[in-house]
Symmetry: C2
Subunit: 221 residues, 2 copies
DNA sequence: CCAAAAGTGTTAGTCTTACACCCATGC
DNA sequence: GCATGGGTGTAAGACTAACACTTTTGG
């Protein structure tokens, strides 16, 4: 098949849903949009893709320029090719999911006026079709967090079990029994004690744990 | 951002990995390629996408023209935007996974010289980057078959438990105990007895089952 | 000493696994 | 009657779920 007409030429954009976990809250990175349409709305980071690079490369380069996130591991989630999703321009979007550890996330005060981490349960007004994209990747994020492989990437290097439990309660949308959660999580053999304590919250300080170096992929829930 | 140069214009193709299950064997639909390069190799069904349709619509239309498969439910798996994956033409591929019930699959004798169902463990020489795409979607197929939601789409309307067991052994890459498999599968409550028997194989005839009308999504393995 | 949050153990029920023999059919 | 493949039950072990009290800290 030979095709060469204008009717078949698309622009391609890569869109990033970047998540972090902060104190057991799951947060996503959004930018304040300053251009019409959707001026003042929040949007996901994105970039156009040239024919000399892959969609993922283009996005990683953009994320490095914009936020100094270097070489994030980005997972492709889906795409959107609805005609006219961008006015007067045939643009296909490829959606990516990535994790930013809280260490990287916390360094981002320099861009705090234009970009911000939002709790996924308290999202602002979102522009374009990014709301839909976001909802879709959150589902995938949840799926991923039910396996151990990516825990290390998204959870802080030192964490407490109550903190991780809060994240899972948020993901699963229900309360978990503290004793059972502990037993289960410890028995997975993924974490080790640091002999240190987190005194930043009220009440009895919680033990700090860290993930072991090599984490096998196990189902957690 | 305003972009309008040739450097950003891509062609887009949708590629289909269509699976069926035949006697407990998982098979994929391939076409014999008659053009250079890769003449004589087998390839996945595919089509180019115009700017007036979504990738999925374009593919469904193509599959209807080519095989009379009407409105398949296609799941997007991933994409490939490696520059030069097609010589001299910037083409991004979007990969889809679909199921064809054995009833539809069996009607396909009319195209049997150019298209054929291949057991996923006995694939022929495959052209372009389709081998890679195929391997990738097979992984996704496996994942999907571990949930009940899509069973009805891919398994024959009447099936025997040994047949379904063979499919799972093929997916999981290990032998399963017949008694335990039965107990598990029946206890899921997804199937009902047809009071009929399959006498097509040697030995004692196997009971035929069918899926119930409403199947909830449960983890099978 | 009081409020807040973290830590701990036991038991009952459910699910999973391992395992061996008999049954219905075609040749 | 024998080869082929299908159907059935039981017991031990692993995992899950439910449940209440004690510990450590800050104010």
């Amino acid at each position: 098949m030979k095709i060469n007409t204008k009717e078949y030429q698309h622009y391609v954009e890569s869109i990033a849903c970047l998540y972090t976990i902060d104190q057991g809250c799951i947060k996503v990175l959004l930018l304040k949009n300053e251009e019409d349409p959707y001026k003042g709305y929040w949007v996901l980071p994105s970039t156009y893709v040239s024919i000399h690079e892959t969609c993922k490369e283009a996005l990683n380069q953009k994320l490095e320029e914009q936020f100094h996130f270097k070489n994030l591991e980005l997972d492709e989630i889906s795409s959107c090719s609805t005609p006219d999703r961008v006015i007067d321009m045939p643009v296909i979007a490829i959606h990516y999911l990535g994790f930013v550890s809280d260490l990287e996330a916390l360094q981002q005060e320099e861009f705090s006026f234009v970009a911000q981490w939002f709790d996924i349960h308290e999202l602002p007004k979102i522009g374009y079709d990014h709301q839909m994209i976001l909802e879709n990747t959150i589902e995938h994020l949840k799926e991923k967090l039910l396996n151990s492989e990516i825990l290390k990437k998204i959870f802080p290097s030192d964490f407490t079990l109550p903190e991780i439990q809060r994240a899972y309660e948020s993901i699963l949308g229900k309360k978990l029994d503290r004793r059972n959660f502990r037993k289960k999580f410890i028995s997975l053999g993924l974490i080790e004690d640091t002999n240190d304590y987190d005194t930043s919250r009220a009440g009895r300080p919680a033990k700090l744990y860290r993930f072991k170096d090599d984490i096998s992929n196990k189902k957690i829930f």
